[in-house]
C-alpha cells in the first residue's frame, strides 16, 4: 500500500478516536499514533545469528474533561481496543484533580504548514542483504588485526514507519520516516587482557550509511586500541570528551533547562535565564527542519510548530525548553519541546580532531562514559570513564577504571574548545569538547 494511503487511514482512525472522546464527555482531546515496520538481523563469527521481523503500532490518547486530564494507550488497534482505550482515558479524568495548567496546546501555536523534511527513504526489506552487510563488517574486523580474537556480532536494522498526531483544535497531520543502521562490536585479547568496543553508522537514507568494511575496521581499531589499558593516579588533569561521547554533556544541559525540571525547582540552572552559563564564544542552534535530520520534525508531540532557535547565544542561556504544561506552570508559552529537542548544532572553535589533541596537550581523552552519576538538581557530576592518556598532543596509552568528577556549572563555563569535526549520528551535533581540569579518581 502507498504510504500516503496508509497515513490517510491512520488519520481517519485518529479522527474517529477524537470524535469518540468528545462524545464520551471530553471537552478536548489529542491522540497520536505510530506504525513501524522493519527488520533487525545480526551475525556473529561471520554467520547469521538472528533474523527478526518487527511490526509495531500503537495509539495514545489524552482527554481533558474541563481541567481534568486522563491518558491511555494501546497496541490493540481493533475497534474494541480503541473504544476501550478512549473509555479508560475518560474514566481516569474522573479521578484526576482540577489543574488550571492542563489542556491542549494554545491554538495559535499549532503547526499549520507541513513541509516535507525528506525523512522517508523506503527500501525493500531484505534480510539477506542485511546479513551480508553484517557479515562483511565482521569479516573486515576479524581480518584487520590478529589481536581481534572474538566477536560480539554485527547487526543491521531497517525501520520504516509513520507518525500521526491530531487534536480537537483541528490539526490531524502525519508524516513517514525511515531509519537504517549498521553496527559491529568486536572483542580483542592480548596478554590476558580482554576488551571490546564497537562502531556504528545510522542514517535516514540507506545509501548514506558508511560501508560495512569501514564499520568493521573502525570497530577493530577501537577494540585493539583499548588493550593494555592502565589506571591513572588520583588527581586533577585536563579532560577532553571525544565527539563520540560529548553529546551526553549537552544532554545534561537539556535536562537542566527543561520546563519540567524548572517548575519542580529541580535544576541547577533554575533562575539563570539570560545569564552566562557557557564561555562567550559558545552558541547552540536548534534546527528542527534539517532535511533528513535524525531529530527533525515540523511539530512537537503536542502539535506545536517547531522553529529555528538560538538556544545559547554567546554563552548566554537564551531559552529554556517548554512544553505546554511546563510553560503554563511558569507563566510563559510553549516553544515546541514536548517530546524533546530537534537537532542541536553546537558551535565550535575551529580545530580539527588532531588540533584538538594539541589543545588538550597533556591530559585525559575520554572515549567512554559509564553509569548515571549526574545530579540535575545540584549539577554534581561523577561518572566512570575510559579513554587515552595524551602527552603533548600525542596519545600515549589506553586508560580505564577511572572516574571523572566535577560540577556541570563549572564544567560548562570551563569549556576551552570544541572541535570542528562534528558527530552527526544523533540529535546533538558536536565536535570533541575540551573541558579543562577535572578530578580523576584512579589508583
Amino acid at each position: 500500500m502507498q504510504i500516503e494511503k496508509q497515513i490517510a487511514e491512520i488519520q481517519n482512525i485518529v479522527d474517529d478516536v477524537l470524535k469518540m472522546a468528545l462524545s464520551k464527555g471530553a471537552t478536548q482531546a489529542e491522540a497520536s499514533m505510530s506504525k513501524v515496520q522493519g527488520i533487525a538481523v545480526s551475525s556473529r563469527m561471520c554467520d547469521v545469528e538472528n533474523v527478526e521481523f518487527n511490526n509495531d503500532g500503537g495509539l495514545g490518547i489524552s482527554v481533558y474533561v474541563g481541567k481534568h486530564k486522563g491518558s491511555a494507550s494501546t497496541a490493540d488497534l481493533s475497534k474494541e481496543g480503541l473504544a476501550l482505550t478512549v473509555e479508560k482515558a475518560v474514566d481516569i479524568a474522573r479521578y484526576t484533580s482540577e489543574d488550571d495548567c492542563t489542556g491542549l496546546a494554545d491554538e495559535a501555536l499549532i503547526a499549520t504548514e507541513f513541509p516535507d523534511l525528506d525523512l522517508y527513504h523506503p527500501i525493500e526489506l531484505d534480510p539477506q542483504k542485511g546479513i551480508e552487510m553484517a557479515v562483511a563488517a565482521e569479516q573486515a574486523a576479524m581480518a584487520h588485526d590478529k589481536r581481534i580474537t572474538n566477536s560480539d556480532g554485527a547487526s543491521y536494522n531497517a525501520n520504516m514507519g509513520m507518525r500521526v498526531y491530531g487534536n480537537t483544535h483541528g490539526i490531524n497531520a502525519g508524516y513517514p520516516s525511515s531509519r537504517y543502521s549498521l553496527s559491529c562490536m568486536m572483542i580483542g585479547a592480548e596478554n590476558g587482557d580482554m576488551q571490546r568496543d564497537y562502531a556504528y553508522t545510522v542514517n535516514r537514507v540507506p545509501s548514506l550509511l558508511k560501508g560495512a568494511e569501514e564499520i568493521g575496521r573502525e570497530a577493530a581499531e577501537a577494540t585493539v586500541a583499548r588493550l593494555g589499558a592502565r589506571k591513572l593516579a588520583t588527581g586533577k588533569v585536563p579532560v577532553m570528551l571525544h565527539k563520540d561521547v560529548a553529546s551526553s554533556l549537552f544532554g545534561h544541559y537539556v535536562s537542566a533547562i527543561s520546563g519540567g525540571s524548572l517548575y519542580r525547582r529541580s535544576s541547577f540552572l533554575l533562575d539563570k535565564l539570560g545569564e552566562q552559563v557557557f564561555p562567550h564564544w559558545l552558541t547552540i542552534e536548534e534546527k528542527p527542519h534539517l532535511k533528513a535530520g535524525l531529530a527533525s520534525s515540523v511539530f512537537d508531540a503536542e502539535g506545536v510548530a517547531t522553529k529555528d532557535m538560538t538556544i545559547v547565544e554567546n554563552g548566554i542561556l537564551s531559552h529554556y525548553l517548554y512544553t505546554t504544561y511546563s510553560a503554563r506552570k511558569l507563566g510563559v508559552i510553549s516553544n515546541g519541546h514536548a517530546g524533546g529537542i530537534h537537532n542541536w548544532i553546537i558551535g565550535d572553535t575551529g580545530q580539527s580532531d588532531g588540533q584538538m589533541l594539541q589543545e588538550l596537550g597533556t591530559g585525559l581523552l575520554v572515549t567512554e562514559l559509564m553509569g548515571q552519576g549526574v545530579n540535575t538538581v545540584t549539577g554534581d557530576y561523577s561518572r566512570g570513564a575510559a579513554g587515552f592518556w595524551v602527552e603533548n598532543g600525542v596519545i600515549q596509552y589506553p586508560v580505564h577504571e577511572v572516574t571523572i568528577a566535577g560540577n556541570l556549572k563549572d564544567m560548562f563555563m570551563n569549556i576551552q574548545a570544541i572541535g570542528a569535526e562534528r558527530e552527526l549520528r544523533g540529535g546533538v551535533q558536536t565536535g570533541s569538547v575540551l573541558i579543562g581540569e577535572m578530578h580523576i579518581a584512579g589508583s
Binding site: V51, N55, T96, T234, G384
Partner: protein, 480 residues
C-alpha cells in the same frame, strides 16, 4: 489458573491447543531444532500526585504473540499484536525461514508443566478501587507535609501491572503464568537558602496495592518509605564533597546488592559465556571471589519483584548457586544457551514482552550472610566510605569494569561514621573487587523491590540483595 489464561489468550481469539500444535508443526516444516510461541496480554496503570493534586493517570493495554524458531545458533523471530490464527501462522512462516525447508523433527504433544506458584494471581488494578488508589497517594503526600512542613516539592507515583502469559514449545512445554507487579515511589525536594536537594524512596513487588497500606513494624508501610525519602534529602542537604581515590568501602545491606548485579551477575549470564565474551568465561570451578562469598540467583522467592513462577520459556524458576564460598559454580541459562553449552536450563529465560526475544537474565540476585556484626565492620576502618544507598549501575562484561553510583554515603573516620558525602560513582573490576571482600555482615536483606535491569534494549524487573560488606579497595569518584 491455566484455564483462565488459556481462555483469555487463546479461546477468546478463536484458538485451541490444537491450533498451537499446528502452528509449531508449520515451523518444523523447515529444519529447525526448536520453536516456541509466547502469548501475552498486559494492563498497566499509573497515577501521579504532584503539587498536592492528582495530576495524571494513565492506562495501557497490550496483547500479542511472539514466534521464535531456532536452528543451531541461529534464531528467527516474528510477532504480531493481533492474536488470530492468520497472524500466528504468518509469524510462523516468517520465523521458520531461518532454516531451509525440509524438517527432521516432530512436535511433541503439549502437556502442562508442573510448577509452584510464587505470587497471588489477583489483578492489582481491580483489587483496589480507583478512589482508594487516589487516597493512598494523598495519604503519602499529607504524611510528608505534616512531617516536614517546609518541604517544597512532593511527587508520589503508584503503578501496577497485570500480565497473563502462555508459552507453548516444540519440546512439549505448555505453561501459563499470571504476574501482578506494583510499585510506589515518592520523591521530595528540600530547599535551604540556595541549596536544593532531592530524596526519594520506593518499594514494590508481586502484590496488590494494599502492600503499601498494610502495617509493617507497627505503621503503614508507605510511612516508612516517605520517611526514607525525607531522610535522604536531609542527609544530602548536609553532604560535603566525596573524597576521590582508592579506599576501603563498606556497602550497606539490601539495595547496595546492585554491586553483585553489575560486578558478577551480568558476567554470569549464559549467552555471554557461550560466546566467550565474558570476563568469567571458561572459569567454572575457579576462585572468582573471596572465601565466604556465596552468590545466588533465586526466582522462587515469594512475591518478590524479580520472582517468576515459570520463566518466559515455561521453565520453572530455581534457587541457582552462582558462586559458592568464592568458587564459580554455574551460569544462568535459557533453553538455547543451555542446549548449546550442554547444561540444563536454570529458569532464567526472560523477555520484556512478546515483541522481544528471550535471553538469559537475572531474577533476584543476592549474597548470603556471613559472621560479622555490621558495627564491627565499620569499626575496622580508619578512613573510608560507608554507602548504604545507591542509584543504578552499569557493566562492561568483557573487561569486567563496572560502575555504580551512591545516592547516600558517609565518611568513615577512625572506625566511626561521620559526615555525609555527596553521591559519587564507584568503579572497579568485577572479579578483582569480589576477591577484595574481606568482611561479610550477618544482616542479609533484599531490596525493597524497585530494580529494573536493561540488556540489549530490553527492561525486566529484578531484585538484588546482600549483607553489609567490606571491600578493601574500591575507586571512589569524588572531588575532594
Amino acid at each position: 489458573m491455566f484455564n483462565n489464561v488459556k481462555s483469555h489468550l487463546l479461546t477468546d481469539s478463536g484458538l485451541e491447543l490444537s491450533s498451537l500444535e499446528k502452528a509449531l508443526g508449520q515451523i518444523y516444516h523447515h529444519d529447525n531444532d526448536y520453536a516456541d510461541l509466547y502469548f501475552q496480554s498486559s494492563q498497566h496503570e499509573s497515577w501521579v500526585l504532584e503539587d498536592g493534586i492528582i495530576k495524571d493517570g494513565s492506562y495501557n493495554i497490550e496483547r500479542g504473540v511472539g514466534v521464535r524458531a531456532i536452528s543451531g545458533e541461529k534464531t528467527g523471530f516474528a510477532y504480531s499484536d493481533e492474536i488470530t490464527e492468520d497472524a500466528l501462522l504468518s509469524a510462523c512462516r516468517a520465523a521458520r525461514s531461518i532454516a531451509p525447508a525440509g524438517g527432521k523433527h516432530a512436535v511433541k504433544s503439549l502437556s502442562n508443566s508442573e510448577y509452584r506458584v510464587r505470587y497471588e494471581s489477583n489483578n492489582p488494578l481491580l483489587a483496589m478501587e480507583d478512589a482508594e488508589k487516589i487516597s493512598l497517594l494523598r495519604a503519602v503526600d499529607s504524611y510528608i507535609r505534616k512531617k516536614e512542613p517546609g518541604i517544597n516539592q512532593v511527587v508520589v507515583s503508584l503503578s501496577g501491572v497485570y500480565e497473563e502469559v502462555l508459552v507453548a514449545a516444540t519440546d512439549g512445554t505448555l505453561a501459563s503464568d499470571i504476574r501482578p507487579l506494583v510499585r510506589l515511589n515518592c520523591s521530595v525536594l528540600m530547599e535551604q537558602g540556595d541549596r536544593r536537594e532531592r530524596g526519594s524512596a520506593g518499594a514494590g513487588g508481586r502484590h496488590s496495592y494494599d502492600f503499601f497500606t498494610t502495617d509493617k513494624d507497627g505503621r503503614p508501610y508507605y510511612e516508612t518509605l516517605a520517611d526514607e525519602a525525607l531522610h535522604m534529602a536531609r542527609i544530602n542537604m548536609e553532604a560535603v564533597a566525596s573524597p576521590a581515590g582508592t579506599m576501603p568501602v563498606v556497602l550497606g545491606s539490601g539495595w547496595p546488592g546492585v554491586l553483585l548485579h553489575e560486578a558478577v551477575g551480568h558476567g554470569l549470564e549464559g549467552d555471554f559465556n557461550r560466546k566467550g565474551a565474558s570476563t568469567f568465561s571458561g572459569r567454572i570451578g575457579e576462585r572468582v571471589a573471596a572465601k565466604g562469598v556465596t552468590v545466588v540467583d533465586d526466582g522462587t522467592l515469594q512475591d518478590r519483584r524479580g520472582s517468576l513462577s515459570v520463566d518466559d520459556e515455561g521453565t520453572p524458576t530455581q534457587h541457582n548457586v552462582l558462586i559458592e564460598d568464592g568458587i564459580l559454580k554455574g551460569y544462568m541459562q535459557d533453553k538455547m544457551n543451555a542446549r548449546l553449552m550442554g547444561v540444563s536450563p536454570t529458569g532464567n529465560g526472560r523477555r520484556e514482552s512478546f515483541a522481544h526475544l528471550p535471553m538469559p537474565r537475572m531474577t533476584n540476585t543476592y549474597m548470603l550472610g556471613g559472621q560479622h556484626d555490621p558495627q564491627e565492620i565499620i569499626a575496622s576502618i580508619d578512613k573510608g566510605i560507608y554507602a548504604p544507598n545507591f542509584a543504578g549501575g552499569q557493566v562492561d562484561i568483557t573487561s569486567g569494569k563496572f560502575v555504580f553510583s551512591s545516592a547516600e554515603a558517609y565518611l568513615i573516620e577512625n572506625g566511626k561514621i561521620t559526615a555525609p558525602v555527596k553521591g559519587a560513582t564507584l568503579i572497579g573490576n568485577g572479579p578483582e573487587v569480589m576477591q577484595k571482600i574481606s568482611m561479610i555482615g550477618n544482616d542479609v536483606a533484599l531490596d525493597r523491590g524497585v530494580g529494573v535491569c536493561g540488556k540489549d534494549g530490553q527492561s525486566v524487573p529484578v531484585g538484588v540483595g546482600q549483607p553489609t560488606l567490606k571491600v578493601d579497595e574500591l575507586t571512589v569518584g569524588g572531588t575532594a
